[in-house]
Every structure is written in structure tokens, then in C-alpha cells.
């Protein structure tokens, strides 16, 4: 490893190479500016010490450059490099993979710049910058990051221009770099649209290719969902073909939790199949869901998912799954049947699992349940009594519930009486189970708001929710949302409406920030368009686009042919631009050249050494019929060229005389 690192390090072995010009201050400023812009967004993701070290190395280089000093000794740099390697090893435990790779690259850039002496080192620094500009997209491909990367590459290209043209003015370097990028844009558009898209990956990705993301998990304990509620990050966006469902029907189903140990809920094992475990019937909703990657398989489909595509699997507890974990933003066409009955003939094992309670937990809740269930004619009546109890209990819905101990349901129901949805769902399930009714907890998201700008229904982490399903003979699993009993607005109007005060809610979710909210709607619509059109451009969309412009079935060969033809056409346009700018003569010179060319066509070209008057003599001898006109033209050119004052009329007169020659 050390050997690799040494080889990667900028140590020049060919001391026989001719010495090149050292980096001057202005070139250095371009290069350092480009490197700083490149590294700036990385600071959000690099380990803090690495960001600080990279900044330090850049500042050091800047200082040396400013003072006009020579780069530091190689031995010192080698020591820093070894320290960097050790640091990366300690931080990540290994060198391979995305994060250590990017960290090493960022620090290597600082080291490379520090030791840059020759043009070759500077070019290597530029290439490192470009690699890092690409690497930022591994973390974030949003519009602002893209703009920053574009700015950084512009400055980096400016550094290359400054290197090629050390004497030129700075503004011209920027102008050249901008012009180059502007001329590169059509090529980019062309290749972006037409270059055959391969659905990656081409080879195995390092284990940390997809870092952990926030979101739901397969367990739930008091506080886990309220934690999510503080984040306004977007989970998914849905576009409905018809009218979107009412807020009370927007239950996006995630993992179903059946096993309970007194405090934590866990998912029970489930069976997976290609078709749903229920018979679809009733009204149907069609929608397209764009899910942000969460590195899990669940699709968070609207209850209850129909069988729409081979990419979907159905679990026996009715949540929909993808075939592989969602590691990229995914678009799915889904259907939902909100009104069907599920689990009419449920498995006995599942029902008994939905009744199990740890023997030594929540004694007070058990006693209460026994009291409520006593004398009830049916499970349905027990359910009604429990609901009544919770509704009349003056429970407070809050984002900051007090911490709970071992008997979480007891403490919530009788002591603290303040809780978030997971507290309500958990306590409700304990009561129902203790009363002998099969009950389970369903986690997922509830609600979502419609962005008025583009009509998308946006679901955020703050919409995370937990509710229950109760199994009743004849009805199967019935959804009950105990949170709605305490805070009905939560289901109708969302989280912000349901909380008493702002209660630590993120700024963006607050109801009183109307203008901020409008701004956010705009921004999210733009981001969504960017996500869908640019980031989501894949094989599928490419095919659709090509079909729309008339290429129904294209294979790779046709695509390559179209691509090369279009590239050639773009080159042709650039070529025309290049030769069009060739001449910028003054008007007099242009007229004179026109005259000489016309004479040359008659075999009387001007020799390079011939002055206008000598030329006139020769022309007059060769064309005696036009002698006077020719002499006048040459003489007036000479007087305009070498005379004292040039007046515009004389120039026009010359032009007319040359025009008049057309008809001899």
C-alpha cells in the first residue's frame, strides 16, 4: 500500500527533463481558486479533519505563492502524505471504497498543488480537480451542487488557459474558458440525450457505495418516529392520474410490526409472492411514485397495492416490496385499491402472533384491558370501548414526549399522558392484545401535501406515522388510527395543524411562514423537474424520447450513426465560426483586396512587391481600354492609404469605381 501511495505521490523521477517555467502568481491564483471551489462542497461530506487539512494545504500553497517562495521540501510533503494515509486508515479502517477514495483524492490535490513546479504538475492538479468535481455527484446531484461544479470546472479550465498563455490578460482567460464551455454545451446536450445509457453497475461496488439513509426502520420504540418528524427531507413524490385521494386515505404502508417485547416493536417474518394476498376489487387509483433512495426494499405504496408490474413483490402483511433495495431514485407506476377487505381468512399463526404480549410487562394496561373487555359481546364492542377510553382520556399529542421506561404503555396511558403517534399506536395495540383482539402496528407515512406549482403530492420524513390494524371476524384487518382520536387534525391537515404550539417543528413546516412556504413550493417543483428530466434520464426515457422524434426502434449502431452525424454537424458550425472571424480588415483594405482579386481573375494579379502606382502602370498597359479607370482606382487607393486624411466619400467613390469595372 505504501508503495502504491508513493507512486501516486507527486515525486518526479526524471530529473533529466528540461526545466519548465515555474507557476507564476496569476496562474497559481487560477489553480488555487479552482481547487478551493472544487473542495468547498466536499467539506459537507469529508471527515472534519480532512476538510481542515485540505484547507490548510491550500492556504499554505497560497501563502507560498503570494510570497514568491519555492514549494516546501519533498521530504516534508512525504511526511504529510504518510500522515494522510494513516489518518484515512484510522478513520475508515481501509483504503478501498468510495469515502476513503474521495478523502484521499481531496488531500492528494492539496499535496499535488503544494509541490507543483512544472506545467505537468499543474495539469495533474487540474485533472485531480476534475475528478473531485465528478465525485461530488456521488453525494449530491441537486441543482445548486451542479451549478457549483460547473463554476469550479470553469475556473479550472481557466487555469489551463492561463497555463497555455501566461502573458495574456486575466479577463481574456475567463472569456476564453467561458467561450469554450459555451461551445462545449451543444456537444454535451447531444451526447447526454443520445449516448446509449447503460443501467449500471458494471462491476461490484464497494460496500459503502450507498451510505445509510434516514427513514423508517424495521423496529419501532418510543421516540423513533418523532425523531423522523423533525426532518423535512422528501421521501417520495406521487402524481395521480385522476384526483388524489382525500387526506384521510393517504396511508403509505411501510413495514408491519407484530412482535413486541414490552418496549420495542419488531417486524415478524412474512411470506413474499408476486401476486397480492388479497383479492383486488372496488375503486382503483393509478399513480406514479418517485421514491428517493432509502436502501431498503419497501415501496411505501398507498394501501392497498395492486399487481401492476413485475418489479413489485407483495408481502403477506400487505406491504409492497421492490426486488432489490432502492439505491437510486426510482419511478414506479402503481395502482391502489383503498376499499378492499383484507385478511378475511387469516392464518391462525398470524393471529396468535398478533395476540402475544410479554408476560411481565405493562401490568396496569393489562388490568385496564381486562376491565374494558369484561362483558363485551364481541371484539367489535371491545374496540369501541377502547376507542372511547382513549378519546376521553385527554391525551396530548406532542413532538416532545417525556422519556418512557420499561412499561412504556403503562407510563404513557397513566402517568405522562403525552405522546407522539408511536406512543398511541403502541399503547393501543397493548390494550387490544390484552383484551384478546389480534392487533398489530403498521408504520409508514400518512398524508403529504400537494405542491400547487406542479401538482405533485410530496411526502416528507415529517409525515412518518404509525397506526394499527385490528383483526375482526367478518371484516378482516381493519385500520384504526389511535392518533386521530387524540389529534384529529393530524390526519386531516398534517402535522403542523395538529401540534399545540410550534413545539420544535422545523421552520419550513410552520403554518405562519406563508411566503417561505410559497418559495419552497417553487424550489421543490424546480428540483422535481430536475430530478425527473435530468437525473432520472435513463434507458427507458431515452427510448421514449427517440420514439417521439421519430426513431421508433433504435439499436446501438443507428444511435452511433445519429450521434456521429450530429457531432459532425456541430463541428461544421464551429468550423464556420472559425473561418468567419478570419478577416477583420479595414474597409479600404477590403476594397483594395476586392479590386486585386478581380484583376487576378483576369490574369493580372498584383505581385507582392508591386506598389499601387506601379501596378496601375502595368494594368494600364495590359488593358488600354480601361487605362483611365484603372489608374484612377490605384491612385485613389494610394492617396487614401498613404495620404493625410481619409474621408468617407472618397472611400465610397473608390468602391463605386471598382463596382463599375464589372462591365468592361
Amino acid at each position: 500500500m505504501i508503495g502504491r501511495l508513493l507512486r501516486a505521490l507527486p515525486i518526479r523521477r526524471h530529473s533529466t527533463a528540461p526545466p519548465e517555467r515555474a507557476l507564476d502568481r496569476r496562474q497559481g491564483a487560477w489553480l488555487l481558486g479552482g481547487a478551493a471551489l472544487t473542495l468547498a462542497p466536499h467539506a459537507l461530506w469529508l471527515p472534519a479533519w480532512a476538510s481542515a487539512l485540505a484547507a490548510l494545504l491550500l492556504c499554505w500553497r497560497g501563502l507560498l505563492l503570494w510570497r514568491g517562495k519555492r514549494p516546501p521540501a519533498r521530504l516534508l510533503l512525504l511526511a504529510v502524505a504518510v500522515a494522510v494515509a494513516v489518518g484515512v486508515r484510522l478513520e475508515f479502517g481501509h483504503f478501498f471504497g468510495r469515502e476513503p477514495g474521495v478523502t484521499l483524492l481531496a488531500l492528494l490535490l492539496g499535496l499535488k498543488l503544494l509541490e507543483s513546479r512544472a506545467a505537468r504538475d499543474i495539469r495533474a492538479g487540474v485533472l485531480l480537480c476534475l475528478f473531485l468535481q465528478l465525485a461530488i455527484f456521488l453525494e449530491d446531484q441537486s441543482l445548486p451542487v451542479a451549478a457549483l461544479a460547473l463554476g469550479a470546472s470553469l475556473v479550472t479550465l481557466g487555469a489551463l488557459v492561463a497555463l497555455a498563455d501566461p502573458g495574456g490578460p486575466q479577463r481574456e482567460h475567463l472569456r476564453t474558458a467561458t467561450l469554450l464551455v459555451a461551445q462545449g454545451l451543444p456537444f454535451m446536450l447531444l451526447f447526454f440525450v443520445l449516448f446509449p445509457r447503460v443501467q449500471g453497475p458494471l462491476w461490484g461496488l464497494p460496500a459503502d457505495a450507498f451510505s445509510a439513509r434516514t427513514g423508517l426502520s424495521e423496529t419501532m420504540d418510543p421516540g423513533s418516529i418523532s425523531e423522523l418528524s423533525l426532518s423535512s427531507a422528501i421521501v417520495m413524490r406521487a402524481v395521480f392520474d385522476g384526483a388524489p385521494p382525500a387526506p384521510t386515505q393517504r396511508y403509505w404502508r411501510g413495514p408491519v410490526l407484530t412482535e413486541f417485547d414490552g418496549r420495542t416493536w419488531r417486524a415478524a417474518p412474512f411470506v413474499e409472492a408476486e401476486t397480492p394476498f388479497y383479492v383486488v376489487s372496488g375503486p382503483r387509483l393509478d399513480y406514479t411514485l418517485t421514491l428517493e433512495p432509502h436502501n431498503r426494499r419497501w415501496l411505501l405504496a398507498l394501501d392497498f397495492a395492486g399487481s401492476a408490474s413485475p418489479a413489485i413483490r407483495h408481502a403477506s402483511d400487505y406491504h409492497a416490496l421492490a426486488v432489490t433495495p432502492l439505491r437510486v431514485r426510482s419511478r414506479l407506476a402503481l395502482t391502489a385499491y383503498p376499499d378492499i377487505l383484507t385478511g378475511l381468512e387469516e392464518d391462525a399463526d398470524v393471529l396468535s402472533a398478533a395476540l402475544r404480549l410479554p408476560a411481565d410487562s405493562n401490568p396496569r394496561s393489562r388490568a385496564l384491558a381486562a376491565e374494558l373487555a369484561a362483558g363485551a359481546a364481541s371484539d367489535r364492542e371491545t374496540l369501541a370501548r377502547v376507542i372511547d377510553y382513549l378519546r376521553s382520556g385527554r391525551y396530548i399529542y406532542t413532538l416532545r414526549p417525556p422519556l418512557l421506561g420499561r412499561h412504556s404503555a403503562d407510563e404513557f396511558l397513566f402517568d405522562t399522558r403525552r405522546g407522539f403517534c408511536e406512543h398511541f399506536a403502541s399503547a393501543f395495540a397493548v390494550l387490544m392484545r390484552a383484551a384478546g383482539v389480534p392487533t398489530r402496528v403498521v408504520t409508514g407515512y400518512q398524508g403529504g401535501e400537494i405542491n400547487p406549482v406542479d401538482g405533485n403530492l410530496v411526502v416528507r420524513q415529517s409525515d412518518a406515522h404509525a397506526w394499527n390494524e385490528v383483526w375482526l371476524t367478518g371484516s378482516g384487518w381493519v385500520r384504526v388510527d389511535p392518533t386521530a382520536l387524540a389529534a384529529p387534525q393530524r390526519i386531516d391537515d398534517g402535522l403542523a395543524a395538529a401540534l399545540a404550539e410550534f413545539d420544535g417543528l422545523p421552520l419550513m413546516l410552520r403554518a405562519d411562514m406563508e411566503w417561505l412556504r410559497a418559495l419552497r413550493y417553487q424550489w421543490e417543483a424546480v428540483s422535481n423537474a430536475w430530478n425527473q428530466r435530468v437525473l432520472g434520464y435513463d434507458t427507458e426515457r431515452q427510448r421514449a424520447l427517440l420514439a417521439r422524434i421519430g426513431f421508433e426502434r433504435v439499436d446501438a449502431t443507428t444511435l452511433a450513426a445519429i450521434l456521429s452525424l450530429a457531432t459532425a454537424a456541430l463541428f461544421g458550425v464551429l468550423y464556420l465560426w472559425a473561418i468567419r472571424q478570419r478577416r477583420a480588415q479595414d474597409p479600404l483594405e477590403r476594397q483594395w483586396a476586392r479590386f486585386c482579386t478581380r484583376m487576378a481573375r483576369q490574369g493580372l494579379g498584383r505581385e507582392p512587391w508591386e506598389g499601387p502606382l506601379d501596378y496601375a502602370d502595368r494594368l494600364a498597359r495590359a488593358r488600354p481600354g480601361q487605362a483611365d479607370a484603372l489608374r484612377t482606382i490605384c491612385a485613389s487607393y494610394a492617396s487614401l492609404r498613404y495620404g493625410r486624411d481619409v474621408d468617407k466619400d472618397a472611400l465610397n467613390a473608390l468602391r463605386h469605381r471598382i463596382d463599375a469595372l464589372r462591365n468592361p
Binding site: 528540461p18 455527484f137 489551463l160 495574456g168 449516448f195 449500471g200 453497475p201 432520472g536 478570419r582 507582392p608
Partner: protein, 329 residues
Amino acid sequence: MMRPGQGRALRMLERAERWLFRIGTPEPAPIRLVQRRIYVLPTPAGLAFAAALATMLLASINYNLSLGYGFVFLLGGTAMASMVHAFRNLLGLSIRAERCEPVFCGDTAGFVFSIDNTRNRRRPSLSLRAHGQQVGFDTGPAQLTRVCLPCPTTRRGQLSPGRTVIQTTWPLGLIRAWSVFVPEQHCVVYPAPEPDPPALPEDAGADAGMRGRSRDGDDDFTGLRTHRSADSPRHVAWKVLARGGPMLTKSYASWSSPDLVLDWSQLPQQLDDERRLSRLTAWLLAAEQHNRRYALKLPGCEVASGQGKAHLECCLGELARFGAPREEA
């Protein structure tokens, strides 16, 4: 900048160019760079850039980075555009080879080119190369730039720049645009003067004694005479003119020793041709320095007695051309 490994590649390139573009005969001035004589190819840095882009594209495919595709294509497009910029940086330049000053063998000859930029924009980072020597320059907007390409000399005779390359790697250093031409230009290379020559060979002839002669020279003022247009302005009697008098020239006389005859055949037999030429060169310079009149006798060529810069150059020129086939005028 040439690296040792590039030598062979360059020679092969040269041969290919000679064959492809039929380079060889010198062209009359001015040489105008039109589109079909400008070539573009990537530089080593350009190849490294392409390799980096390929790696980045692979990474984008592997990680499914849509923006990565865009970024790589943008950089690729920029590199392609830079090809056209490099081409355009040379397009329409016209190059004229100027007369160049003769030098002694071993000194550095300077080939002077005047390069006319008719465009009203600056053309940065051009360079000229011939005989393995390179010189870089810029041309301002609509400007005529004189560029001197230094070239060390190793042989007397005539030195031509031969295959000359004008090139640029502007704007990004990734693409090299170049054009090859053979200018009609010669530099006369005199033989190197012998470092420590024997004394001038005084003619032991009878009538050559100590008889001095008065000639026009510049030692002693002898009087004023009417001005002729060829007279040096330094010798014009400006004071007389200022007083309103006629334009007169001050005439001087110099007293000189008898004429020298520098004869090839009088040199010692053991000297080979080049050593003889070196000695004659040294003597010519010494004679001129001592204000002597001298004649030069070479096999098949004779220069009559004379003095002055023009005479010296004429003699040295004969030495430089010695043994070369004489041009038919």
C-alpha cells in the same frame, strides 16, 4: 520542449509529413496559413485528459450518475471546441521570412520572420520551431510581429531554416495545431576565425616598402567638399548648414600601410581546407581591424583589393561559399 524519447517519433512524423504534403521546395513569401495546411492532433496532455474522461465516464455509468454523464460530455465538448480554437489561432496568419545577418560558424544564427496577424484579436502562445530550436511569441491584434528564431551553427556555408513548424497548443494545452513550411531564407555562415592566428603575412615585394598612400579614410580631417547623396550623415558639416551655408561633407584621409594579399596558395601545405579558411577569416578580420587594404585570392576566385564593411563581407562570403557549387545568376 523536446524530451529524448520524442526524437524518433518526431523524425518519423517529419518523414510522414514530407511524403504526405510534399514538403521540400522553399516557398516564396508571404506564406499564408490557409485551412488545408493546418493540422491538429492531441498533445500528450490531451491524451491524458481523454483517458481521465474515459475513467470518469466509466465511474458515471457504474454509479449511475446522470450528472456525471453530463459533466464528462461537457468537458469532452470543451476539448473538442478547443481543437477549433487552436486551429483558428493559426488560421490566416501570414509569414514572411526576412533577411538574416551572417554569422561566424559556432555563433548563433537568427532567422527572422515577420508574422502578420490581420485579425483584430490577439493570437496568444504561438511558437516557431526549426532545427530543434523553438521560440515562443504572441501577436497583438492587427499587428506585424518580428520573431527571431535562434539557431546554433556548426558548419560554414549557407544555413536555411528548412522544415519550419509554426504551432500552438492554446487554449487548453490539450490540442496542438501546427503547420509546416519551408521558407526561402538563407543565413550565410562564415568560417570560424582561427582563435590564435599567426601575424598578418606582410608582402615582402620590392615596391611595397614603406610607401604610404593617402586615401579616403576617417583618421584626419582634410577639408570640406560638396555633399554627395551617398555620404554618411555623420560626416555632413551640420554647423555650416546651420549657418545657412550649402550642404558640405567633411572629408578625412587615412594613411595606410601597403596592400595585403591574403592568398590561399601561400598558406602552409599541412593545413587542411577548413583550417585554411579559418586562418584566412582571422586574417581578414585582423586586416580590417588594422585599417589595412587587402585582397583575397582563392582557387578559382579572386577579390580585388579594398577595405570597409562591404568589402569584408564580400571576402567572408567567398570563404563561406568556398567549395560549394556556384549559383548561376
